[in-house]
Each structure stands twice: as C-alpha cells, then as structure tokens.
C-alpha cells in the first residue's frame, strides 16, 4: 500500500523525465520496427500510383510548425512517390503559415532527385514537373474557383511568375485535369475540400491528418468521400514502407525511425494509466 501511495504522489516532472528518456533512447539507439500497412494508406498509395500521365496531383500543404512532425513525413513521402512516377504536381497552401514549410518540402525532394539526375529529362524542373501555386485567401476562393480555372484563381505563383506562362499550366485548366487532391492538414480542411470541391466538381480527395483528428475523419473514409487516409506518424511510416517495398525508394524514413519511440512511450502511458487506476480503487476501498 505504501508503494501505491508513493506512486500516486510522484511529481509530474518525474513523469515528464521518464517519458523524455523513453522517447530519446530509441532515437539514439535505433531498432527498426516492422511496419504493417493498413488499407486506408494502401488505398491512397495506389490512388497516387495510378494517376494518369496527362493528369496532375494537387497537394494542399496545410500544416504548421505545431503539426509539422506528424504531417511533413507524409508530404515528403507523397512528393517522392509522385516524382518517382513522373506525376505532375500542383502545390498550394490555404493559409499563410504553411507556405514556408511547403516550399521547404518541395526544395528538399527536388534537390534529392536532381542530385541523382543525369539528364534534363531525369530532373525535376519547376514549371514543367511541378508548380507551387502559393496562397490565395480566403480558402473558399481556391476550393470553388479552381473548379472553373486554376490560373484565374492563382494569377501568379509563389515566386511571382504568371501562372499562364508556365509550361505545365498551359495543359491544366481546372479540376477536370486533376485526378486526385491530397490535403495534409492538422485541422478540418480536408473535410472542407470534400464539401466544396468534391461535392460540386467531383474531384477525388485524399487526406493526411494528425492523430488527434483521426476519429473525426474515419467516417469520411468509410463513406468513400476520402479516397485514402494517412493518420499521424504511424500512417506516414506506412506510406514510407509502401514506397520502399513497391517502388524501391530508399530514402531517409523519418516517420519509421520514430516508431520505436512511439511504441515505448505508449507502453509507459499504459503503465501510468494502470497504476493510476489501481491507486484510485485502492484509495476508494480504504475510504
């Protein structure tokens, strides 16, 4: 009983310290974990993989620094997938803060490919293979406006170029030229894409969300409104696994490297919850 009393009085800072140690150790001493790919991620992977040559993938990067660790690995993996398959990509953000993170993700992946490229055709070239449309507020304007004309909504891209002068945009008019739109967001933006872009124009929507919002998003997957869904770091690790297994893309797997830390942290949390509950029932019986 004394142990229970002591455990119930443990300073919260000790708990933080235990969690920090449990998370840091697996990062310092990596031990690869097998990643089991679940159907929601698999569906999204194949939806990207089977995009037709003449169609584009639209990617909405809407994560901010506070959700970056969960959503950025998804963005990197999907960009790697698209560029590997030579799928044309249009990137946009509906809010200001994600713009810098979206640019950084594109720069990183294009550098990765261009370092290995031997010819111009192998390279990933801005304007030919992808375009960063940037930001156009309020969110409703691009969501509805791109159904009519993308270049009318985004008259200039993130870098200030006139979009209608870019080679890729000469072939792309509106959602009819896009096969899939993937929204990576820590908020309810993917549902807004469904409500406005999918309902009205019929474009397929895929989503990448933080684990916190997962339970809100699963109903949209079950109804088929989402073509696929990536949830949190675990989902990103599943996409990385698919990329490596199916397309032989061997790059840094940031999300997969984090899985041991997540697993051990969860085990510690479960232990804390069990100890807390035992303590509660023991104290209640004493009263």
């Amino acid at each position: 009983m004394r142990i229970i009393d002591t455990l119930l009085k443990v300073d919260r800072r000790i708990i933080y310290l235990i969690l920090a140690v449990v998370v840091i150790l697996p990062l310092l001493l990596p031990s690869p974990q097998k990643v089991r790919v679940m159907p929601p991620v698999e569906k999204l992977f194949w939806a990207v993989d089977t995009i037709h040559e003449e169609k584009v993938l639209i990617m909405d990067f809407d994560y901010e620094p506070q959700t970056q660790p969960e959503l950025e690995p998804m963005g990197l993996a999907i960009l790697r997938h698209a560029f590997k398959k030579r799928i044309k990509v249009l990137v946009l953000s509906l809010y200001v803060q994600p713009l810098g993170l979206a640019k950084s993700a594109q720069d990183r992946i294009t550098d990765e490919y261009n370092r290995e490229a031997k010819t111009n055709a192998d390279s990933i070239i801005y304007g030919r293979d992808y375009v960063f449309l940037g930001w156009q507020p309020p969110p409703l304007v691009p969501m509805l406006g791109m159904g009519e004309s993308i270049t009318e909504v985004y008259k200039s891209d993130y870098y200030g170029n006139k979009t209608d002068t870019l080679p890729l945009m000469k072939k792309i008019k509106n959602y009819n030229d896009a096969e899939l739109l993937i929204s990576l967001s820590g908020s309810s933006i993917p549902v807004s894409w469904v409500a406005y872009a999918q309902n009205r124009f019929g474009i397929r929507i895929g989503a990448g969300c933080t684990a916190v919002s997962a339970s809100d998003f699963y109903p949209y997957l079950q109804t088929g409104q989402f073509t696929g869904l990536i949830v949190g770091m675990k989902g990103a690790a599943e996409y990385e696994e698919m990329l490596e297994a199916k397309l032989n893309v061997h790059k840094k797997r940031k999300a997969s490297e984090s899985l041991p830390s997540i697993t051990y942290a969860h085990l510690v949390m479960i232990a804390f919850i069990i100890i807390g509950n035992i303590g509660y029932f023991v104290q209640r019986r004493r009263r």
Binding site: R13, Y16, L19, A20, V23, I24, L27, L28, P39, Q66, T67, Q68, P69, E70, V96, Q97, L99, G134, W135, P137, L140, L144, S156, V191, V194, A195, Y196, Q198, N199, R200, T210, A211, V212, A214, S215, P219, Q222, T223, G224, Q225, V231, G232, M233, K234, K252, K254, E257, S258, S261, I262, A265, H266, M269
Partner: protein, 213 residues
C-alpha cells in the same frame, strides 16, 4: 557529437528548450519564447497579407490602374475600422453581414451534402457499404455494428422523452459507443502529442547536436 554552426539552428534550439522549460515551471525564458512566437507569426501573416493580397489585388488596380469598381470592396473593407469610432461603429455590421451571408450561403448546402446526406448513406446497410470496410464477409458485421452504434448514440441525445423502456436500453448502449469513441480519441491524442515531442527531439538531437543522422 557534431554541433551545428548554423546560427538559425541555435536560435531554434534555444527557443525549443525555452518552451520545454515550462514543464519544470513557468519562467522568463518560456515567456520570452512564447511572445517571440506570437509576434513572429503575426508579423509574418500581416506582411504576407499586405504584399500578396492588399497591394496586388486592391491597391494596385484601384490606385495604380484606376479601376474604379475596386472602390466598392475598398470601402466595404474599410468599414471594419469604424468599430474604433463610437458614433458610426454600427457601420461595422455591413462587412460582417456580407461575410456571414456569403459563407452561410456557400456552406449550408455543401455541409448538408457532405456531412449529413453522405454520412446517412454510409450508415445504410447496402452491399457497397459492406465492401467499404475491406474486411470480406466481416464487412456485414461491421456495417451492422455501425448501424446499431449510430442509432443508439442518437437515441442517447434524444431529450424530448424520458429515457425509460426501449429508449433507456438504446441510450445505455449508445453510452458504450460514445465511451469507446472517447477512448479511441484519447489514444490518438497521446500518439499525436508524443509525435510532436519526437519531432522536436529529432531536431535537437539531429541538426543541433548532431548526435543522430
């Protein structure tokens, strides 16, 4: 160990550690980092709005190219500032009314279609919905569980009649579904928060300290 020589990495590391210091107790470093974050985020947003929206989409066409029609959005937008003049502060209702009207008109039909009609369709027991689970024959079972769960949960929130008899049974089953939902949401929340911690630690141990690749 391969410490970074990049000043921005050091600033990022200092601000991250300052925020983490709140876990010990509130302190000036935490307050400093918090204020820097709020200030930088707002400054960034205001600058972007000015250079990417107000100047190219309003001021340039109106004052540079003389497109007089742009005077309408200019005046309507400017009415937001009447809030600071007590005598005419009522004028702020005009832009607010326009915004509410626009967004309500756009969102009601879209919201009903995406969040109500499609979700009801997804609950109906049809072969298409059985397949959506990707669980083979078990798809029927999951669809039935979903069907029961939705009805029972809705009955829990039916307050126009005293919950006794059949309604009591269904609402009790509804509570079980709600609790399972809360449990799943809590589990996911733990995963999300740990992921954020991992993200910061990867930054501190990687680009800053150079301990991990």
């Amino acid at each position: 160990m391969n410490l970074s020589t990049e000043p921005w990495i050091w600033i990022g590391a200092f601000l991250s550690l300052s925020i983490f210091s709140f876990l010990y107790k509130d302190n000036p470093f935490y307050k400093f980092a918090e204020h820097v974050f709020v200030g930088v985020a707002n400054g960034y947003a205001v600058t972007f709005y000015w250079h990417r929206i107000l100047v190219p989409a309003l001021f340039d066409p109106l004052f540079g190219q003389g497109k007089l029609l742009y005077i309408i959005p200019f005046v309507v937008g400017a009415l937001y500032f009447t809030r600071f003049i007590p005598k005419v502060s009522w004028l702020v209702r005009i832009p607010i009314g326009i915004s509410i009207g626009y967004y309500t008109g756009a969102s009601i039909p879209a919201g009903i279609q995406a969040n109500i009609i499609k979700q009801i369709q997804g609950t109906v027991l049809t072969p298409e919905n059985f397949k959506a689970w990707h669980a083979g024959e078990m798809g029927i079972v999951w669809s039935i569980i979903l069907f029961i769960g939705v009805l029972c949960t809705l009955s829990y929130f039916y307050f126009s009649k005293e919950q006794k008899g059949v309604l009591k049974v269904s609402s009790r089953i509804g509570i079980i579904f709600i609790m399972i939902g809360f449990g799943a949401a809590f589990g996911y929340t733990v995963m999300a928060r740990i992921s954020l911690l991992i993200g910061r630690l990867q930054f501190l141990l990687g680009p800053w300290l150079g301990v991990i690749r």
